[in-house]
Amino acid sequence: MSAQHNRAWLLVLPAAAVMGFVAVLPLLTVLNYSFHDIFTLESRYWIGLEWYEEIITSSRFWASLGRSALFSAIVLSIQVPLGIAVALLLRGTRHPTLYLMALALPLVVPWNMIPGMWLSLVSPSGLLGTPLAAVGFDYKFTALHTWALIVTMDTWHWLGLVVILSYAGLSAIPQPYYRAAEIDGASRAAIFRHIELPKIAGALAIVLLLRFVDSFMIYTEAFRINAGGPQGATTFLSLDLGEEINGFSYGSAAARAMTYFLIVITVVWAFVQVTRRREASA
């Protein structure tokens, strides 16, 4: 229905210029660095794919990848069902907006403040640490405790996103759908499966994309809890990369960054394919 109109490019030009400068140009720079051995930025040597070879043959990379994948799997399997359940629960309340506002609060906390808040909470004198100590549980920085704390903290941080988008999807279902289901005597499970789930599928796809990428590349929050420890037990992909940047091994860091970018791009591409196919069949 819209006209084919290449003068529209003039309107897009300012945005494209900004994105070119702050996103495309740095990306090309990383790509270039990733093929070089860099001592200083002035003295660098072309080494082709050597960094990539080193990364994909290193057990350290696969271990971090495994930890990040496991973290994403845990986070998604907790937050998505829980978020949908809360959204369904809110449908029947009198002031859903108030609950949604409360759930949005963690989304507006600066990311590097969140670990501090949770560490204070579980510390022996904290609001959560005190009752936990009373029942004989003591938060220690063991691998299991660190993982549990990061997963809980991440759920606190992002549950609101899942609920808000699911709730928006549910709100778009016309009331007659429910009435028809009632007349047919459909069970609660059938209503969810055949009416609600298809209607929130679009919103859920966005939730899955955003939550996957953000959890897979979790950095600031995880780092501040235990700096990737104990003994690397919470060293996720981004923490590895951050370490290399801080260690000034630019070539290797660039190859690592490109590898992560390729993973993200693949996920985005799959998301776009699925979304376009669904829109075409709708």
Partner: protein
């Protein structure tokens, strides 16, 4: 679900959300180190008073507001014409542009942080609010374009055509007709750009190594051998206020902040 279990579940949910926030507020009103005449553990307002005794902390509030406002202005100025183009026209490469924007919207900042730092160092954009305002466009410009586009698409085409038939130029139409018509959308886009820029820390950290520190980095700098946690928490509470205010303003549109176009 019947009434009682539902209320119980919602109460548990609110408790979960509130706990870390309550902890933060409680600590911000507690003396965690011996302060002037106040024993550790006691109620005090000194943490908040101490914020204003520290020039670094006061300056950081100004720095944060400066680059976040610059970013919002930049995203709206570049985003509005682009959003109009995506809403009204199809053009060569539009799908590829949308894909690129989606890719950069979700690219983790840590991936781009190294070249951004090197590039911006050469251009003298480190330790300056302009640098952070620019780099936050990586994720905020797509968000602004998508939000504005959804509001523009809700305006019928006839609205534009009538204006053009009256002989109005495109810029004239933007300022006198379109912007007033989608004013709520501009507000929503501005709020989301504001808050996403406000909470971001990876870019903000690498670009403010030695100066122009935002609130988040000023708080980081407070950590030392003998950290005044009370002061940290008071500053954290201050850093939360703009976000809380934003939630109140966009409460009917919160879902739009996470819109994605393919």
């Amino acid at each position: 679900m019947s009434r009682a279990p539902r209320m119980l579940a919602l109460a548990a949910l609110l408790l979960f959300i509130a706990l870390p926030l309550v902890q933060t507020v409680v600590l911000s009103f507690t003396a965690t180190l011996p302060l002037d005449g106040v024993e550790p553990g006691q109620f005090t307002l000194l943490n908040y008073a101490n914020i204003f005794q520290s020039p670094a902390l006061v300056a950081s509030i100004g720095n944060s507001f400066l680059y976040v406002s610059l970013n919002v202005a930049l995203c709206l100025a570049a985003g509005l014409p682009a959003a109009y183009a995506f809403s009204r026209y199809r053009f060569t490469g539009d799908k590829h542009l949308l894909f690129a924007m989606l890719a950069f919207r979700v690219t983790p900042p840590v991936v781009l942080s190294l070249p951004i730092f090197i590039l911006f160092s050469k251009l003298g954009l480190v330790n300056s609010p302009v640098g952070i305002a620019l780099v936050h466009c990586v994720f905020n410009l797509p968000v602004a374009i998508w939000i504005l586009e959804s509001f523009i698409s809700a305006v019928p085409h006839e609205f534009d055509e009538t204006a053009f038939l009256d002989g109005q130029s495109l810029p004239g139409f933007f300022f006198s007709k379109l912007i007033p018509a989608i004013a709520p959308g501009i507000g929503v886009a501005a709020f989301f750009c504001f808050i996403f820029s406000w909470v971001e820390v990876v870019f903000a950290r690498i670009l403010t190594g030695t100066g122009g520190k935002p609130i988040t980095m000023a708080i980081n700098a407070l950590f030392s051998f003998r950290t005044d946690i009370g002061l940290v928490m008071a500053m954290t509470v201050v850093s939360l206020l703009p976000g809380v205010l934003m939630i109140v303003f966009v409460r009917r549109h919160i879902a739009r902040g996470f819109v994605i176009r393919t």
